[in-house]
Symmetry: C2
Subunit: 790 residues, 2 copies
């Protein structure tokens, strides 16, 4: 089902068996390497041809003006956009003066493999130059998960059909020319050469370059050094100019003789540190990795990933494509968050420049939902990043006339970068989503230190926001009006069910947290009266219900609206937002993405089974899934209400979003939330896992045709393994230690399997029967928007 035949289905890698330039932009995203700090797109080593050259550093951005035809109070006047920083992955090859370029000569063979356990991208090519000289090129690329500032390439070349004069040029290049991405000439001007050279120097074969981003004033350092192995004498040379560092090595090789070049690259950036400090930092990182060596670096990488998979792997018997897809997804999620360290995890990670490199609610609601149970440190860092942006969020709230903190809809640094407020600023649910991520993290880790500090402050700041956003009506109901929920085909609605329920949880949790820790509460200025007010707002939270139709409306009045004319909407008119005005979308019953359905998942405790079934069925008829965030939530609720086939279809859509390039824009970067969605669909959907304040719930069921689904959850230092087979599930709490540094580990775990509650102890598996599924008539989707059948 991976659309293009060049991609192979294998359990532990993504293999591309030949090079088809039409999928190059797409494959650059799939083959991107990252550690959350550095991102290298899967560009060919030699730089060209390319879809989008991409080297990113998390947090490095340029400012660009945000223009408005008609300005308004509180509109941000400048935005942030990720930039392509100094490219250190470029290695050019000349064979008898012919540049190695796959567009010329003949590519005898070409294979690229992303190895999900080794954490490297391998390439193996045989190329015959236009003059008939054949060479074999093998490269291995790594972005280190253990040494945050480091990436490296091992480049090997050998002649095949006769002696060849080989020249390898390894470069550091700033201000690479990029394909035009934005039509606005002003933006293009700002971003065309964003790096201003501060320093470029070389000594002992090492090149160090420092630049400052023109308007944002972020300073970026990069350095490289090489190790060369060759059976013959080589000539090598190093040069550096402002925007170019180049290491050249030349040799005359016979067939069977290999020139091997290992290139180590280090990166660093800062908005505060001096030029010498930054230069020394990247130099030091380079020295450290030279001490580790290439083999050492690969070994570290493998060890790190072995540990990750031991607590993260999902095993599937019955669908090799989904098996591959979920591992691919988990690998990329780990890459995105592993070393982000107090920086955002963007919607596309560091795999492309889509969405300007911004982070949205995708992070907290989808990506962190997964990482919480396999890489909790990454979650802590991501939430600490949010916490670090509190000053900006408080300023924004004040500007909007609100209390507490209003986190930005889209951002890199923490400043609001949304230029269309009805689908930006008004989407206040992001604040409850952040609180939800905090609560989830605390439930999974019991990280008391975080709970007392950043966690509590995030809960308090968002609870304050909700109190100022909502109001009590005459009947004592707490209403939140004029906001936009997750569904971006509605906007500025009153009492969006998702928003109100998530705010309710936020308010209640904040009240509970300050009661639990009155000393810290005082430190944050919370009085008992304030906490009582949060409780009252949570208790009085208004959730609209349409008595006539017997369903929850997505928001007040939604079910009274005209239905979208799906019958007369052509397949080529999706996504609707590119073919219809917001005006029409907003006022009709059409749903871009799970909104009420996401509430059914995340706040399932607020609905009874009948409501869930009816609400889901109602939403299904209206949901067009023009967002990659939708399918996974639909899978989860479909599974819960008994539509297992449909859940499986949605699982497939979430899992293959990028591998099959379903939205045709994977070239801009991976959809991290959809990748997360594949795990969510499996674990919350087929596993039926819910992690509530009052405990951990499972309601496992297998898709038709599967023999086994097994997943793992890291909980307070132990791995809970859930193995689902036909008619039976087995729960095992690992007796070993998944987090070596952890002082206290979970010693028993209470969990619920369907209606049965039991206590699990390490090393003592529990078996539990799975009830037969009840067959339900399948709900309808909008004409032409049914998910592809698996």
């Amino acid at each position: 089902m991976i659309e293009h035949p060049v991609f192979q289905t294998e359990p532990w890698c993504l293999r591309e068996s030949e090079l088809d330039l039409s999928v190059l932009p797409h494959s650059e995203s799939l083959f991107a390497l990252s550690n959350g700090h550095i991102g290298w797109r899967g560009n060919l080593d030699e730089g060209e041809p390319h879809g989008l050259p991409g080297t990113y550093l998390n947090g490095v951005y340029e400012l660009r003006p945000l223009p408005y035809a008609e300005a308004g109070y509180g509109y941000p006047d400048s935005g942030e956009t990720v930039i392509n920083v100094t490219n250190g992955k470029l290695i050019r090859l000349l064979v008898d003066d012919e540049p190695f370029d796959v567009r010329y000569g003949r590519l005898v063979s070409h294979e690229r493999t992303l190895d999900l356990r080794d954490g490297v991208l391998r390439r193996d090519a045989e190329w015959e130059s236009p003059t008939g000289r054949s060479v074999r090129v093998r490269t291995t690329r790594v972005v280190s998960l253990t040494q945050r500032a480091v990436a490296a390439v091992c480049f090997e070349v050998e002649p095949v059909n006769g002696p060849a004069r080989i020249v390898v040029q390894s470069e550091l290049i700033a201000n690479e020319e990029l394909p035009a991405a934005n039509e606005d000439p002003r933006t293009a001007a700002v971003l065309s050469s964003p790096l201003v050279g501060d320093l470029s120097e070389q000594y002992d074969g090492r090149v160090t370059m420092v630049h400052t981003v023109r308007h944002s004033k972020v300073r970026v350092g990069a350095a490289m050094e090489h190790l060369v192995q060759c059976p013959k004498d080589v000539l090598s040379k190093v040069m550096s100019t402002q925007d170019l560092g180049r290491f050249t090595v030349a040799a005359l090789l016979e067939p069977g003789e290999t020139l091997r070049l290992v290139k180590f690259v280090s990166y660093g950036w800062s908005t505060t540190r001096s030029l010498p400090a930054l230069r020394d930092q990247v130099d030091a990182a380079l020295s450290a990795v030279l001490q580790t060596g290439w083999e050492g670096l690969l070994a570290e990488q493998r060890t790190c990933l072995d540990e990750f998979w031991s607590r993260a792997d999902v095993e599937i018997d019955g669908d090799p494509e989904i098996q591959q897809a979920v591992r691919f997804a988990l690998f990329h999620l780990f890459q995105a968050g592993a070393r982000a360290e107090q920086r955002a995890i963007a919607a596309k990670g560091l795999t492309g420049s889509g969405y300007d490199g911004h982070a949205f609610w995708d992070t907290e609601s989808f990506v962190l939902q997964v990482l919480t149970y396999m890489a909790p440190d990454a979650v802590k860092h991501a939430l600490s990043w949010r916490h670090s942006t509190l000053p900006a969020a408080r300023d924004r709230a004040a500007q909007l006339g609100l209390a507490g903190a209003a986190f930005p809809w889209r951002t890199i640094s923490g400043q609001e970068c949304s230029g269309y407020w009805p689908a930006g600023t008004a989407a206040f649910h992001i604040n409850a989503d952040i609180a939800d991520a905090v609560l989830r993290y605390l439930r999974a880790t019991r990280d008391e230190d975080f709970a007392r500090t950043a966690g509590l402050e995030l809960l308090v700041s968002t609870a304050r926001l909700w109190c100022s956003l909502g109001h009590f009506d005459g009947a004592g109901q707490f209403r939140i009006e004029g906001v936009t929920g997750p569904d971006e085909y509605s906007a500025l609605a009153d009492n969006n069910v998702y928003t109100n329920l998530m705010a309710q949880q936020n308010l209640q949790a904040a009240a509970d947290a300050v009661t639990h820790d009155p000393e810290q509460a005082r430190a944050f200025g919370v009085t008992p009266e304030e906490a009582d007010h949060w409780r009252a707002a949570a208790k009085g939270m208004y959730v609209p219900y349409d008595e006539t139709r017997g369903v929850h409306p997505q928001a007040d009045g939604f079910t009274d609206h005209e239905f979208w004319d799906f019958e007369n909407t052509g397949a080529d008119q999706y996504p609707l937002l590119l073919h219809f005005p917001y005006f029409q979308l907003y006022r009709k019953q059409v749903i871009k993405q799970a909104d009420l359905v996401l509430a059914l998942h995340l706040r399932g405790d607020a609905f009874d089974a009948r409501d869930k079934a009816r609400d889901f069925e109602y939403c299904e008829r209206l949901t067009v899934r023009d967002s990659s965030l939708s399918a996974c939530s639909q899978a989860v609720v479909a599974a819960e209400v008994g539509h297992l086939r449909l859940a499986y279809d949605y699982l497939g859509e979430a899992a293959l979003m990028d591998l099959a390039n379903l939205e045709k824009n994977t070239a801009d970067g991976l959809h991290l939330a959809a990748l997360a969605g594949s795990w969510i669909a499996l674990v919350a959907g087929f596993g039926g896992m819910r992690h509530r304040e009052d405990g951990l719930l499972f309601a496992p069921r297998l898709p038709v045709g599967w023999d086994r689904l097994c997943f793992r959850l890291l909980l307070q230092g132990r791995v809970l393994t859930v193995e689902i087979k036909k008619g039976e599930a087995t729960y095992t709490l690992d007796s070993g230690s998944a987090e070596p540094d952890r002082a206290e580990r979970l010693e028993k775990l209470e969990l619920r399997h369907y209606d049965h509650t039991f206590t699990l102890t390490p090393g003592e598996p529990m078996r539990a029967p799975i009830p037969d599924p009840v067959a339900h008539p399948a709900p309808q989707q909008p004409h032409g928007r049914e998910p592809r059948r698996r």
Copy 2:
């Protein structure tokens, strides 16, 4: 009450008794002359100092890019903006080599008078140059109401205290340097020199210049010629370059000797005609006015205005300020529409560049409401202009996925120029407002030809729009969702009462019209089934009502929203839109301008007296009047529901909006709708006039302290005079002819005075007693937003 002491209260003119440069920008708008085709701001003859130099031609605009931080489907990508065209009013004076500049030397006296009956702007100044030479300067400026292409200035200068060498330079100048108005550097660039020279020539003392507006490609011609009278020999010279034509006359004068220069200027523009054709056109206009001569031109102007006042004048005994203000208003309304001839009447007429020179619903709902009863030809032309833009409106509707025509929220040429759709495109009520203006015009004139052609097509096209905008719900109610009503502090609401009721009238009237004229209906493709559908939609139109509070909500859910915190909103935080985000404004109960209250006025037939009183009182508590369109509607309904003092206060606000510069932006141009509002407040408010399908209603009452209010209405060729005195009203139908060309004239008029219906015949006045007003407790306004007491 005209705020600045330099302005005098007089019945038939606006006199400025001295020159205070701090009010110069404001006075330039007040003293603007226009005929609806040409607009000359009241800039000083010598050009400097100035607030905003302004010479406008109705329909001449430049295109400018409309940028978006986040683009969306259907957003217009370029807008139109009025430009300052070739300035022909400039006349510089040098006295013994000292330029006449009021900032230097000493201004002994300075008076300017806008004469509302002569239709001229007079200036009389005595100035002593820095070297001590005094001169008297008298100028009279006219923009001809009878010769559409022509404006003229008579300039007289005489030495006072000794002989002086006088040089007068009379100019035509293109691409005048303007004060920076827009912060966007791209817009500024587009508009800095918008005129590209095509031709500049002179012969026999006449200068002709033709330019093309750079991007819009509108071609603009201007020409000038002079008559000189002087007791002494004069030397004269003419020159022309691409952007400058100059006629210079020099003489050595003794005290008592006057140099008199009459300058005739003609203008023309076209998007289609050739350069020679346009050149010849302005030359011909100049020849025509030379044949008429200066005195002839003034005589024509006076005759035209005498006719206007005979059918338009409003007389007030008891408030000289309001007396002056309403005549000032009517004069400017007439100027704006008199010769607009198939072009828009912009929100600021041709008095300034505010709102980019765009026309909004202000025209149909306010300006035409007045002109219908005194200058019906101007109304016919304005509606014909709308009709001429039907192709663009149909295209826009199609782009939005709607049927019929969607007229633009703001435009010059007919293209939508709104760059913020929630307060632009979504304000669909403009279409019903246009239909309302058509119906009003037809009621007043019985213009059968217009009814069959443009009128019918406008009704049909707008009815079709409403049918596609709304839908029937399960209960058979017709709902219109996601639109913005007149109140711009709410947006994208469901079932805005004003919109639904105006749409209802639109649909019903269209159905009636096609039934009345089935042949024409077929020509427009209307089937009986379609008309039945309009009728059904009108009949089923849903009008929300809040049973709990016993009022109509402005739209669904409005009365459930949180109240704006007026108590904690400072006086310096108004207008709110400059100090608070739309997000907060939209979701709270706060009203910028009459919305439901406007429905109470224009669709009073849909409400009973109790509803009107309660709805008005409810809205009063929330209405901040941050729009100049609001006070007059509040005056009308206040008078109807018995709050005469409050109505008087609102009348004062509407009437003095510009004279007293209440919104501090009269410098950008006059608020034509507020000017219209002064008449509306008097006639619909104190006169209680309503013109419904079923007849003409009056419910007269006098403000406290007035002895008499008398107004006139032109109805099918006759003038109805309504004279209101204490306790009694007199209705008289003129026996003469107000429209000489009219074939058929009204021979009897049925009207209602309170609950009494009677028939009026020409020359036979009817007297009717006025019931005593019932005292009501005054409603409250938001804290600090009470109208100023009169």
